[in-house]
Symmetry: C2
Subunit: 968 residues, 2 copies
Amino acid sequence: MEAAETPALFSKKGFYGALMEWAMRDERFKTQLFRFVDVLPTLTSSQEITRHLNEYLGEEQVQISAALRLGLKAASGASWLFGGGIKSQVTGMARQFMLGNDPKEIIEILLKLHKQDTAFTVDVLGEAVVSEPEADQYAQRYLDLLDLLGREVSKRQPPCKSNQGSRGPLPALNVSVKLSALYSQVHPTDPKTAVRHISQRLRPILRRAKELGAFVNFDMESYALKDLTLESFRTIFEESEFAEGPLCGLALQAYLRDSKADLHRMVDWARTQNRRITVRLVKGAYWDYETVMAHQRHWPVPVFAEKAQTDANFEKLSQFLLENDRVVDSAFGTHNVRSIANVLAHAERLGVNPRAFEFQMLYGMADSIKSAVLQIGCRLREYCPVGELLPGMAYLVRRLLENTSNEGFLANKYAKGAGREELLKNPLEIPAPPSVPAPAHAGHEFQNEPLTDFTITKERERMTQAITALRDDLGRRQPLLINNKAVTTAEWLPSLNPANQSEVVGYAAQASITQAEEALSAARAAQPKWARVAAHDRAEFLEKIATLMRRDKAGLCALEVLEAGKNWTEADADVAEAIDFCDFYAAVMRDLGQPKLTQKVAGETNSQHWLPRGVGVIIAPWNFPLAIVTGMTTAAVVAGNTVIVKPSDQTPIIGARLVSLCLEAGLPPGVVNLITGPGSTVGAHLVGHPRLDFIAFTGSKEVGLKIWESAGRTLPGQRDLKKVVCEMGGKNCIIVDSDADLDEAVVGCIASAFGYQGQKCSALSRLIVLEDNYDKFLNRLIAAADSLRVGPAELPGSIIGPVISRDAQQRILAIIETGKKEAKLAWQGSVPDNANACYVPPTIFADVPASSWLFREEIFGPVLAVTRAKDFDEALSLANDSDFALTGGCYSRSPENIALVKAEMVCGNLYINRGITGAVVERQPFGGFKMSGGGTKAGGREYLENFLVPRVITENCLRRGFAPAEES
Amino acid sequence: MEAAETPALFSKKGFYGALMEWAMRDERFKTQLFRFVDVLPTLTSSQEITRHLNEYLGEEQVQISAALRLGLKAASGASWLFGGGIKSQVTGMARQFMLGNDPKEIIEILLKLHKQDTAFTVDVLGEAVVSEPEADQYAQRYLDLLDLLGREVSKRQPPCKSNQGSRGPLPALNVSVKLSALYSQVHPTDPKTAVRHISQRLRPILRRAKELGAFVNFDMESYALKDLTLESFRTIFEESEFAEGPLCGLALQAYLRDSKADLHRMVDWARTQNRRITVRLVKGAYWDYETVMAHQRHWPVPVFAEKAQTDANFEKLSQFLLENDRVVDSAFGTHNVRSIANVLAHAERLGVNPRAFEFQMLYGMADSIKSAVLQIGCRLREYCPVGELLPGMAYLVRRLLENTSNEGFLANKYAKGAGREELLKNPLEIPAPPSVPAPAHAGHEFQNEPLTDFTITKERERMTQAITALRDDLGRRQPLLINNKAVTTAEWLPSLNPANQSEVVGYAAQASITQAEEALSAARAAQPKWARVAAHDRAEFLEKIATLMRRDKAGLCALEVLEAGKNWTEADADVAEAIDFCDFYAAVMRDLGQPKLTQKVAGETNSQHWLPRGVGVIIAPWNFPLAIVTGMTTAAVVAGNTVIVKPSDQTPIIGARLVSLCLEAGLPPGVVNLITGPGSTVGAHLVGHPRLDFIAFTGSKEVGLKIWESAGRTLPGQRDLKKVVCEMGGKNCIIVDSDADLDEAVVGCIASAFGYQGQKCSALSRLIVLEDNYDKFLNRLIAAADSLRVGPAELPGSIIGPVISRDAQQRILAIIETGKKEAKLAWQGSVPDNANACYVPPTIFADVPASSWLFREEIFGPVLAVTRAKDFDEALSLANDSDFALTGGCYSRSPENIALVKAEMVCGNLYINRGITGAVVERQPFGGFKMSGGGTKAGGREYLENFLVPRVITENCLRRGFAPAEES
C-alpha cells in the first residue's frame, strides 16, 4: 500500500484536489462549498448556477488567503468559478463515488470490478420517501435492479475471486436495502405498523432475490430507525417463506453505544434460528446528525463522542464477530488500515480462515488499501450506489465530508501526511480531548424538558396504560376552585372526546357571575401577601409544579389525547412545553427578582426592580390545552400576581388539572382560582371588571379584539390601566423556493399544515410555491398528504385525528365547501366513517388567488391553500399580504433569498428550512403582531415583564460628605 | 514629638481607640458606625437609640471577626452596645473636637489654650442654613460670640505667646466665618445677589470685629462656593468702611487644582489693595464630597485625585506664600509633619522669620505635633468649633473620617505605625496608583450630558446673550412641517411668555383635519423605507440631533425660559435631558439592532431581533418642553417608526424647534412631521385613526385615559393593535421620618414641591411628616419657602416663576381658595405685582386630612399639602393611599424604615434621602403605574421596546446531516 501512488484525489493536482485541500483549511469555505454542491443538481439553468455560485462562493462570501486563491488558479481550476462547466465538473466529482443510472454504465463498472477480483453490493440511491407511492417506486427499482443484474451476473464465469469464501462460493449478486425508503409513515409510537408495511414491500424483493440466489443486506441508517430495522430483519426472516433464503445480512454501526448489545442479540438470534447471517460492521456515517439531533432533543447522545472510542469499539466488535465465526459471517466495512490489521491479527490468533470473512469499502475511495487487501489474499467487496445525481448528492456530501474530516483515516494519511506510527496507534491509547463545558445559558439554569422517545418500548407501554387508566375514571364533575376550595355550581357542561362524542371526559362547573366575583375577591385578597413572597420562593412553587407534571406526564398526555384529540406525540410535546414554561419562568423570575443597577454613580445607588401588576384573568384556548394555560398562569403568578384561570370550554378538565397541580404544589389560597363557564358572560364580566388589573388571553382574533377594547375603558375605582397580553390567530405562510430541498419541504409543510389537524395558531395555511417547482412539489405534497394515517388520537401512529368539536367540524366543512367555489380543490383526504367522531378530511386547495377568502382568513383546521408565484419577489409580496403576522417560513437554498426573507417577511416567528410549528420555550419565544397579537413573546425572556411594572429606587448614600466605597 | 506619649485616641486602649481601630479594619462597620453617630443627636428616647443601634450595629448588620469582637470586649467597651450611656459616650467623643455651647465652658477651654501658649480661632457650628431667618440667627450668633469673647479676651494679659508675631502682636480674638451660613439662597446663576446678601449680614460682624480689634477669617467650604467666597472677600474688603479693618484673612484649599491660580490672584489683590491679609493654607476637608459630586454631574473633578498630589501642591503653595511674606501673612493648617518641616525649611532658606507665620491645627487633634511646634518656637493656633452637638455632628464625622482614613498622616503614624521614612517621604516621589478604568457601561457607550456650571462667568454671559438674541427674534409664524416641507394654515395661535402675556414668543400653525391626514400619509409612505435604514445609521441621526442641540444649547434654554417660564437651571436641565435621550436611545438601539441568540442549539440558529411598529403620533406636554417631546420622538424614530409630533399648545415653538433640528440632522422626508393645533380635534382624530399604529403620550390623566380607551378600539383596516405609551400625572409623597436629617429634608422638599412652580409630574405634593418632627420641620420648611426668590424665569436666581398660562393660574388660584376650606393654610408666599404675568403664590397647607381633595387630586402647581402621621406605619399607609404611583420619597436615617419604604412604597420612582424630581436618563428610568401610567420607563433600557415588536428567526443549518461548527 505504501508503494502505491497517492490517489488522484489527494494528489493536490487538478481541480478536485485543490478544492479538498481548501475545504480542509477553511471551515467556512467547506460549508459554502458543500452547500453549493448540495443545491447544484436542482439548478436547471446556467443563470441559476452562476447566481448560486456567487451567493455561496463569491469573493464577498468566502474569505480565502491570497495563497489559496493563487493555488487554486495554479491548479488550473480558476475557470470553474466562471465557466458553465461547473455542473459537469461536480457531476464528475460525484461519479467518482457513484455508478450513475445508466444500466449499461452500471454493468460496465461492475464488470471492471469483477476483473479486479472485487465483489460488489449495490445500493439504490433515492430521494427521501415522503409518500407511499414513492415507497412503491423505490421497491420497484430494487426489483428492476435485481432483474437487470440477475441477467448479467449469471453470465460471468468464473465467479469473482472475492466471492470465493472459505465455506464455498458466495452469491455474485448482492444488494443493500434502506428500509426507510420502503415506508413513508414510520412513526416512533407505532413500530408494528411500520414493520408490517415494510415487510409488505420487502417480500417481493426477497422473493426475487431468493429466486436469483442473490444476497440481501439491510443497511443501517439513523439511530431512530435502528430498532425498527433490527425488528424488521428478525420479523421477516422468521417468516416461513424466508426462513431458508435468501441469504441475508445487516449492517451494525460501531459508533453506537448500543452496538455491542445489538450485535450480541443478533448473533444470539442467528444461533437460535440456526441461520447463518452476515453482519457488516461499519463505523457509522451519521455522526454529526446523531449528535446534533440528540443535543436538540436533550436525549442521550447515542454515538461515542470520540472517534478513537468508535475505533476501539470497532476492534472489540470485530473480535467478537470472529469469535462467532461459526454462527455469523463477518464483513468489515472500513478504510482504516489499523482496523483492518486488527481484524487480520485477531483472525490469525483465533485461527479463522482469512477467506471466511470479507472487507467492504466504498466505491471510489481508498484504492491503494483495496489493492493491498486483495494482494494479501483477502476478500473485498465494494459498496456501489446507483441512481440519479440529485438524490445522490446527500451521498456525495457525506463522502466529501469524510475526505475533509480531521478524523478520517484517509484524510489523515494523504492530506495531512500523518506518519505510520500515528495512523496505526491503538485507539485505546489516544487520550480523550479535554471536555468542553456545556453551553452556558445567560444568567440562569434552564433546560428544556426532553420529549418522550417513543421508540422505547417502555414509553409506549406507559402511554397505553395511562389511556386505559384514564378511561376508567372519566365522567367526573369538576367543580370551580376558589380560594383553594371546591365550589359546585347549578349547571354543568360535559366535555366530550372529539373522537367519540358519546364519551364524556368530564363535566365542567358553570360559574355564575356571583361566583366569578367571589373568585375575584379571593384573588384580590390574596394578592398583597403573595406579592411579598420572595421571587425566589415563588419560583420554587413553579419548579414544584413542573415536578408534579413530570410525575403525571403520561396521565396528562392521556387526558389531552381524550379531551383535546391530540395524538401521542403532540400531547407529549404540549406537556413538555407546560413543564418548560414552569421551569423557564421560574428561572427568569429568579433573575428579575434581583434589582439591577441602572448606572454606576458615585454617592448614589440606582437600581431597577419589578413589582407585580395585581390581579389578572387568564383566558386560555383548547389547542395547546395544558401548555398555554400553564404558560400564562405561571408567568402571572411567579411575577407575584394572583389570577383567575378560565380554561376553554373544550378542555376544562385539563385546565382544572393545572389548577389542581398548583394547589398540590402548595400555592396559598386565592393565588390561583379556577372559573369555568361561558366566556360571553362570565369571561366578559371579569374582563370588564374595574377591580381587575390585567388579562392574559390566547384565542381568536374576534374575542381578542373585544377584550382589547374592553380593557381600554378605565372605570371609576379602577386601580391600573388594564394590561392585555393578547395572542390571536395567524394565516401563516411558507414560501418554497425553486431551489428548495423538496424532500425536506414536503415533510415540513405537511407537518406544519396538518399537525393536530391544523388547529395551531402557528399552523401553515398558505403555501406559496415558485412556478419552477409548483407542479412537481404539489404532486409530491399531495401524495405525502394522502399517505398520512387518519384515526383517533389514542391510536399510536395516528397523524390526523378529529377536530376539537362538532361545531368546529361543521364550521370547517362549510368553509371547505365555500372554498371550492374560490379555488381548485387539489386534494381531499378520506377519514374514518364514524359519525361519533368530529373528523374533517384534510384538504388542499391549489391555485388559490390572493384575493380569496381561503387565502386571507384563518380557518383553524386541516385546510391548506397553495398559491403559485412567478418569482421570489412575488412570493414574498404574497406572503406579506395578510392581516396576520404570526409564523412564517421559507425553504430555500439561495443565501440571498434566505437573507431577503429574514429581512422582509412580516411575522413574529420565522423559520428557515424547517417546519413553522413547534416553537420551543426559550429557544423560539413565540408570538406575533398585526392582527396576531400585541407583540408579546411567550417563552421569551421579556414575557414576564408583561405581568410586572418596573420601579426604580434611588438612594443617596452620601451622608456628611461620606459615601462608603461599596455603595458609590 | 517622638518622645511624646501616643495620644489616647490611638492608644488602642479604651472604648474610643477600639472603635477607631475596628472602623479602620472594616469598611462596612465604619460606615455603619459613622451613620449611627450621625443620626444619634436627633434621637430623643433611649428606646429610639437602642433601635437605631441595633439597626446599624446589631450582629446581623455588621460582620466582624471574633477577634475584633473579643478585642472590643476586652477593651471594656462591651457595655456600650447595650447600656444606655451611648449618647453620653458619643457626646464625649464629640467633645474631644468641639468646645460645646456653654459660654463658661468655652471660656475655660480657651483659657486653657492660652496657658499652653496656643492661640485660637473660633468657628460657630450650625445646621445648614435653609432660610433667611436662619441666616439672621447665624449672623447674630457671631455677634454674640464676638461680644462674649471680646469681653473675656481683653482681660487676658500678657497676650498669648502664639499671638506674638514678628511684626508685632496679633489680635487675641480670632473668628472664622462660613459664608454659606449667611445667605440661604445662594444660586449659581446669580452670585451678585448672593454677595449682596452675604455682605449685608457680614457688615455688622466686621464692624463689631473692627471695634474689638478682632481678626475675621473666611472659611472655605465646597468648591461650588469657592469663587463666591473669594468674590465676597474682595468685594467687602474693598468697601471704604472696611478698607482699613478689621484684620482679615481667608482659607485656601491645596487639594483644589485651582488653588495656585486663586492664591496668586489673592496675593495680587492684597498687593494692589496694599492690604496685608492672612492666607490660611489648608489641604481641604471635602475630598469625598467634591469627587462624588463631580462624578455625578460629569463635571471636571476640582480636587487632585491623589493625596500625594495635594501634599505636593501644599508644599509648592507654602513656598509661594513664604516668598510673598512681604504681602501676606501665612497660616499653615496641617497635621502633617512633613508639610510642617517643609514650611520650616523654606522659611529658613528664604530668611523668613519663623514667627512671621503660624501653624493652625484642629482642636482636639495632633497634640504631640502641637507641642513639638510650640517647643521649636513657632506660633500655633487652634481651630475651635463652638456650638450644639447636633449641628456639630457633621464636623465630628469629618474628624472621625480623618482619623480612620488610610491616607491621613495621623492615622498612618499612630494607627498603622508607619515609619519615619514613609511618613516624611517627599510626596512627589510617591508613585501614583494604577489608574482604575472608568466604570463600564453594560454594552454601550452612553454618558449623560453634563449640566451647565453656572458658577462659571462665561456660562452666565452666554445665557444672558442668548435671551437677548432670542427676544430680538420673537413673534414669527411657525408653520407645520410635513414631509420636510413647511405648510401654512388658516389659523394661528400665539404662544405667550408666562411672565409677560403681552410678549408673543411665536405663532403656531393650527392644522386642519385634512392636514393631519396629509401628515399621516407622509409618515405612512416614509415608514417602510425608514425601517430598512440600518439601526446603526438611525442611531447616528439621533447622535447628530444631540450634537445640534449641544451647539444650540443656550438658545434652546433661552426659548424654554421665555416660552415655558423655566428658570435657567431648570431649562438647562431640560435641554441636557433632551440630549441624553438622543444619545441614550441611540446607544440602546445600536444594541437592540444586533440580533440576540435565544438559546444555543446544535444544528439550528435561533435569534431574536426587533421590528418597528409603524406610524405613531407623539403627544407631548409643555412642562419639560424639549426633553419629553424629544424622548418620545427619538425613541420612536430610532426604532424605525415614523411619527407625527404634536407638541403642547403652550410650547409649540419649542416642539417645532425639535422637528427643525431633526430635519437639519438629515432625517428623510416624512419620518418626523410636525402638527400643531387643538388636541380635542386634530389630536383626537389622529389617535383614533385606523392607519395609526401607536401613540406616545405624556400629559394629564384625563386625556391619557381617553387616549387609552380610543386606542382600545380596533377599526376595520387597522394594521395593528394600537400600542399606547401613556405617562400621566402623580400625587407624589415624601415621608419625613422622625430621625430625618432635617437640613437635607427641608432643602429636598422645597425643591421637589416648588421647582418649576410644582409643574412637574414628579413634583412633591403630599408631605407626610412624623409627629415628633412635625412642628419643627414645618416651621423650618415654611421659613425656607418664604426665603425663595420669586420672579420672571429670565432673571438669574429666580427660583419661583409664573405658572405656564393664565388658565393655569386661574385654575390653581381657585384650587387654593377651595383648599382653604379643607385644610389649614399654613403659608402663602408673595409674588410680584404684575398683571401681565401668571404668578401663583406658592402655598403650603398643613394638617391636610387624607380624605381631602388637596390630598388626593393632582394640582400641578406650587401647592403643597402637609399631613401629620403618628408613626412610620401610618405615614406609609397615608403615602400609599393614592390613585397615583409616580414618584415617592423618604427622608430617614433608620435602616429598617428605609428598607420598609423600599419594599412597600407604591410608586414608579422612589428616592431615599434626596429630592424626588430630576430623574436622569439611564440613571433613573422614569415612569409610574396605577393612574400615573402604563408602567413604561422613559430613559430606561426597555423603553425602546414599546416602539418595537420582537421577531424570532430560526434557521435550520443542518444540511445533509452536516452543520458547520460556527452555526451549531
